[in-house]
Amino acid sequence: MAELSSNLLLIAFVIYLIATLFFGGAIRQKKGMDESHYKNKVTLSAKIGITLTIIGFIVHIGYFITRWIAAGHAPVSNMFEFITFFSLMVVGAFILIYFLYHTPVLGVFALPIVLILIGYASMFSRDITPLIPPLRSIWLPLHVMTTAAGQAILAISFIAGLIYLIKTVNQAEATRKRFSLELIMYFITVVIGFIVITSTFSFMNYEAQFEWVNKEGELSTIDYALPALVGPNEGTLLTASKMEPLVELPANFNTSRVNTVIWSFIAGTIIYILVRLITRKRISQMVQPLVSKINGNLLDEISYRSVLIGFPIFTLGGLVFAMIWAQIAWTRFWAWDPKEVWALITWFFYAAFLHLRLSRGWHGEKSAWLAVIGFGIIMFNLIFVNLVIAGLHSYV
C-alpha cells in the first residue's frame, strides 16, 4: 500500500507537468484571453489542461488515501506529508478558482509551484512515521488539513498577485519594484536549487557523519547529506574520505541544516546566473510577454477573493483549531511557540491587508504586493521556523 501510494504521487507529478504545458499552450493562443473578462472563451488547450489537472488531482488524492490506509492515521504528521498535502490543496484551490474565473494563465504559474512543492517535499524523509503521543488526536487531521487548505487558497492569492506584478511592473526602468519582483524569482530559483543539489547528492548516496559538542556540552553526532561547508561545534569527521568543513559554527546552530541552506543558495544562484546568461533577460522580463494580455482587474479580484476565502479557513484551522488542540494536548491554548507566533503574524498580516484594502483603498498593485508578501510569511513559517527555530512543533 505504501509503495502504491508513492507511485500515485509520482504519477500525479507527471500529470501536473503535462497539464502545465497545455495551459502554457492555452495562453499562447491569442483568442484565449478576451479583454472582456466575463466572456472568456475557453480554448481546447485549456480544456485539456484542466482535465489533466483534475485527473492529476484525483491521483494525488489516491496517494493521500492509500497512505492514510497504510499508516493508519492521517498522513499529515511530518514535513513530507504536510507539504504534499499542502500541494494537493493548492491544486484543489486552483481548480476551484479556475471554474469561478476560467483563467488558464493561473495554471501556468500554479502548477509549476505545485511541482516545486512536491519536489521540495520529496527531499525530506518519506518514511511513514508513527504518531508520538501528543499527535494522537482527532485534532491532528482537523487542525493540519484545515490550515493547509486555508494556506493553499492564500497561495492562489499569491499566484494571482505575482502574475499581476509580472504584468504591471515596468521592466524598462530600474526601480525598486523591478528589483523586488526579480528577487522573488530568485528565491523561487533557490528552492529549485535546493531540489537539484539535494537530489544530486542523494543520488550519489553522499553521507557524512560528524561528532560534535552540543549546546549542553555533550558529545553527539550529526549526519550531513551534502558536503560540509560549515561544520558543527568542535566537530570531527567520522566518515572516511569526505569533505572537511571550511568553517565551524557555534553550538546554537543545526549546522547540517545551515549547510543545506548555503548549498541551496549556491545552486540556486548558479542556475539563476545561467538563465540570465542564456536568455539575456531577467526572469520576470522573460515571463512578462506570457501574461501581458491578461486583464489586471480580474487578477486583482482573484487575488482578493482568494484572501477572502482563504483567511477565514486559515483562521479556523491555524488559530482556532490549533488553540483547541493546544488546550487539550499542551494544557494551554496558547504557548507562544514559534510556529504559533508565526501563525499569529500571518493572521495579523492578512488582517492588515484586508483593512488596507477595505478602508484605505489599496487595490491593484499595492494589493498584489501584499498578497505576495503574505504568502512569503506562510512559506517562512513552513520552511524557516520549522527547520531553524523549531519549538514544540519540531516534529512536523
Binding site: 472582456s36 524523509s125 503521543p133 483567511f311 507566533v341 495579523f348
Partner: protein, 538 residues
Amino acid sequence: MNKVKCECGHVNPHGTVLCEACGNILDEKARQGKLLDMRYEGSARRSQTYNKTIIDRIWNFFSSVKVGVILIVITLIATAIGSILPQVSTLGQLPVPAHQYYEENYGWFGKLYYFFGFHDTYGSWWYLLLIASIGVSLVICSLDRAIPLYKALKNQRVKRNTNFLNRQRLYNKAENVEIDFTTLKEKLKKKHYNVHIDNGNLLAEKGRFSRWGPYVNHIGLIIFLIGCMLRFVPGFYINEFLWIKEGETLAIPGTDKQYYLTNHEFIFEVYDESDGEVFRNAIEEKGMIAKNFQTNVTLYSAEQSLPGEEPELEKIKDYEIQVNKPLKIDGYALYQSSYRLNEIASMTFALTNKETGESYGNITIDLNNPQKKYDLGNGYGVELLDYFPNFQMKDGVPSTASQDPLNPAFAFKMVTPDRPEGERSFAAIQQTIEVTENKYKMEFQTAEMVNYSGLTVRLDNTLPVIAIGGVIFLIGLAQGSFWQHRRIWIKTEKGGCHIAGHTNKNWYGFHKEIEKILSDTNIPIPIDQKTEKNQEKE
C-alpha cells in the same frame, strides 16, 4: 454642527458625502471623480466631524483605520522579533542571570535583545499595551462606522440621484425603453434579491447582512480579549504542577485539598514490530519513538482539611490520564505533562556469612520510610542505625546532601546468634566500610524502581468566554467574507432609463449575474467603467 439638507429633502448629518436617501453627491471633491468611493456608503464618520476636546481627539485618534493598521503592523513586527531568540519563560531554571545568559549565548545581539526587553516580549507591559490599543481601536472604529453605515442603509430610498447612478462602477443608460417591472421583479426574486419598486424606480438588494460581518467579528475579538483579561482576575485561572510517585496519594494542588489523587502506575510505551511493518524504517532511523504516556489514577474528593492534615477520602473514579486525554473534574483538568522513570524506591539486602556465603534472609528497605529493625527469625536480625538518602562524606563525617534517594547509604547493625552484640557495617552503592573485620555482611540483592508522573493541574474559567468570542469572530468573518452585498438600481427618466449596480466584492460574479438577469430584456447591460478606464489608459 450644521446638518446638510439634500435637494431630495433628506436631512443628513454633517460630513456626509453621499445623501443617505438618494445618493446625491454632497461633497465637492467626490463630484469631480468619475467613480464614487462607496466605502461606508459615503456616510458621515463621526470621528471626522468633531475635534474639539481632548476626549474627542483621543477618540478620533483611535477611530482611524490607518492608526489601527499601524498598530497591527507594529504588533506584528514586535511579535516577529520576539520569535528570533528563545523567550526567557521557555528557558526554565537558568544557571546564570538572564541578561548574562543572553549575552553569553547570543553575543552583542543577545545583549541588545535583553536590553530592549525582547527576552520577555509576550509578557511585557508594552506588548500588552499594544494588544490593548488594538482592542481600543477595534471598539472605537467599529462604533464610529457601524452606526452611520446602519443609518445610511436604513435611510436609502428606491429612487436615486442620477449623479449617484452614473458614477457607479457598473452603469449604463438607454433612451426610449419600456421596462416590464413585473417580469424583472420575478427574475430578480429568483436570484434571491429583495425588490422594491417605487414609481418607475427599482432597487434590488441582497446580502446586506454581509456588511455587518466586520462588526460582528470585531465584537467577537473584543469578547475574546475580555476573556484573556479575565485570567488576571483571582479565581479564574490556576496553574499548578504535581509530581506524583507510583503508589502515592496526594492532594491535587490548587484545589485547597478538595481533591486527592492516587497514582497506581505510570506507563511509557514505545512503538515496536507489533505496530506494523510500515513504521519499521522510521523506528530504525530514530531509534525509539514514544507511543503512549499514561498515568492510571484514582480520583478522590475530601472533606475540608488543614495543610498537613489527612482527611477522609471518598473515591470519585478511576481514570487513565494520557496526553490528549486529561482528567477533568469540576473545572479542573489534569494533564499528562512529564515523567521520571526508574527512581530507586527500595533496596533489598541479604544478611550473609562472608566465608560460607550462606544467607540468613533478605531485608527490603523502603527508602522513603525505612524501618529501624528488621527481624529475620532464629536470632538473626538487622538494625538500621542511620540512613543517608543522598550520601556524601563531609569533613570525614557521613551526611546527606538532600532528602532525595539519589545515592542511598546505610549504617547497619547485624545481630546474629553468635554475635549478639552485633557487627557494624556501612553500606553505600558499590562500597562497604567496616570499622572492624566482620564475619557477616549485608549483600546487595536488588533495587526496586518507581516511576514519577508529572501532571499539570489547570483551572481556566476564561475558556467559555474565549470560546464564545472565537465563535462570534468566525461567524462574523464568514458573514463578511463568503457573502456579498449586491444592489441593482434602475431609474426611469424621460422615457429612458439608467441602470447601475454595486457590490462590496466579487464584481466579476455580480456582473455575470446581472447579465443573466437582463438577458431577454430590453434593459441595457451595465458596463464595467473601471475596465473601460483601464482600457483608455493603455
